[in-house]
Amino acid sequence: MIPHTPDSLAASVPDGALVALPPDNSLPSVALARALVRRGAKDLRLLGVPVSGFATDLLIGAGCVAEVQTSAVSLGEAGFAPRFTAALKAGQITVRDATCPAIHSMLQAAEKGIPFMPLRGIIGSDILRNRPDWKVVPNPLGDGVSDPIVLLPALSPDVALIHGVMADEAGNVWVGRRRECATLAHASQRVLATVERLVKGDMLEDERLAPGVISGTYIEKVAVAERGAWPVALLDEYAFDAAHVAEYARLAKTEAGFAEYLDRYVFNARAQAAE
């Protein structure tokens, strides 16, 4: 069997797919985002779970994205996301604003196989006014007329892209304490994962590892990508590469600078060999 690579995984993501990515502090597969850029993916609809960071800005800059649903897009200490901002200004993408717990709740509804999930707050926010798919009803378990509450539809991404620490022979992926990634995996039609390394055996047989495992039930394919979260952090394995993200933010201010970034870090042979 030929082992999967980030590029072979990216080849299986169709144009137009609803692609979910965790934020920079919660195990996005940046390796798969780079591979999607190399494949020339088009019209992706990205979902930030619940916010978006480096990988989203990269995909937008490379012209892979038609729409972003998210609660925020930022590069953390490196500031605003430059390609997101530019694409929005140029009318190249649309953004559907949500608010963090709403995205978690919509995924939880999908995870449970129910049509909606209620959530407090939000009423009186223009976010709600711009989300015709979100409804306000009186609490049906109250007196039926007072206590308005927001209902959010279930949301099931076509594909989730996660970078875990390790995968085992049973196809399980270990994400440590980042168990919100398990909710994302449960809610998604497909999960494509990259990992730092492969390990023998079945992590679900190990009581200490099992709580940090996303069961292979939900994982479609795994590829090894060392430092596959880079330049963002991976648990206690490696830190956020602030210098690199600052360099990205500087280059990505202009289209020419962004193209230079892609040449250097996404398209060149060494960058590909590293993945």
């Binding site: 916010v51 925020a72 897009v73 930022s74 929005l88 953004v95 963090c100 926010s125 206590d147 919100e180």
Partner: protein, 252 residues
């Protein structure tokens, strides 16, 4: 020499400890908030019993279900205090974290796009106390009315809400918020600021008491904590902030 960031952290810490406000037993700090995080550490390192949950702590993160757990805790009322800011803040304590002009993202003619609402549209309702913090104090930030409401300062009667803004701290002054009349009042002026200067820099109307004191300086003990053990705690999450304010770099 007291840096503005140190003064702001000490001011926030005093607001956290305000005896007139409900107790802050569990405080959460969200993304990109080094000064609020420093303020919380100051409260904790002074020996006050408080649980701190810093959402962006990489090693030893307080949550085992990420930010979802933060929102679930807050939904239940287990988080007593949170910090919010905004690209625009108006006189009714409405927050705009999404952008200016037409609904940002709805059209290319939209004004300036901000990063987005994060969890503000939920947290502002569900936390008993919110301290608003925005270092830039200018008419473009503190506006008569926000272009878009990400999170409203007050709600219609009947809408479930545990609290709203307690105060707004800026680079120039401290305001208190009065939800009963949906207005801010000036609490204290940072050194070198005047009431007229604040009026000129503020796009919204606010109440001014007869006597507005100066924001107290951080004490020597507070400064020593900020520059020593608190910087140690923050180096991993906020390396650029620590380098800039405390002149300290993470050991390679």
């Amino acid at each position: 020499m007291i840096k503005l960031e140190e003064r702001l952290a000490a001011s926030l810490a005093r607001l956290i400890l305000d005896p007139a406000a409900p107790p802050a037993r569990h405080i959460a700090v969200g993304a990109a908030s080094p000064i609020p995080a420093a303020a919380c550490w100051l409260v904790k390192k002074q020996g006050h019993p408080v649980r701190l949950s810093l959402l962006h702590k990489r090693t030893g993160n307080p949550f085992s279900e990420g930010s979802r757990e933060l929102f679930d805790l807050t939904g239940q009322g287990r988080i007593d205090l949170f910090f919010l800011g905004g690209g625009q803040i108006d006189g009714k304590a409405n927050l705009n974290l999404v952008g200016t002009g037409e609904w940002p993202g709805g059209s290319p003619q939209g004004g300036v796009r901000f990063p987005g609402s994060f969890g503000s549209a939920f947290m502002y309702f569900m936390t008993p106390r919110t301290i608003l913090f925005r270092e830039e104090h200018s008419p473009r930030v503190l506006v008569p009315q926000v272009d878009n409401i990400s999170a409203p300062g007050v709600s219609e009667p009947g809408v479930f809400r545990r609290g709203t803004a307690q105060a707004l701290v800026t680079g120039k002054c401290v305001f208190a918020f009065h939800p009963d009349r949906a207005r801010f009042s000036l609490t204290s002026l940072h050194p070198g600021e005047t009431v007229d200067g604040i009026r000129a820099a503020t796009g919204f109307d606010f109440d001014v008491p007869a006597d507005v004191p100066q924001t107290p300086d951080p004490t020597e003990a507070e400064l020593a904590l900020l520059r020593g053990p608190i910087c140690d705690e923050m180096l991993e999450t906020y390396p650029e902030f620590c380098a800039r304010v405390f002149d300290r770099k993470l050991a390679a």
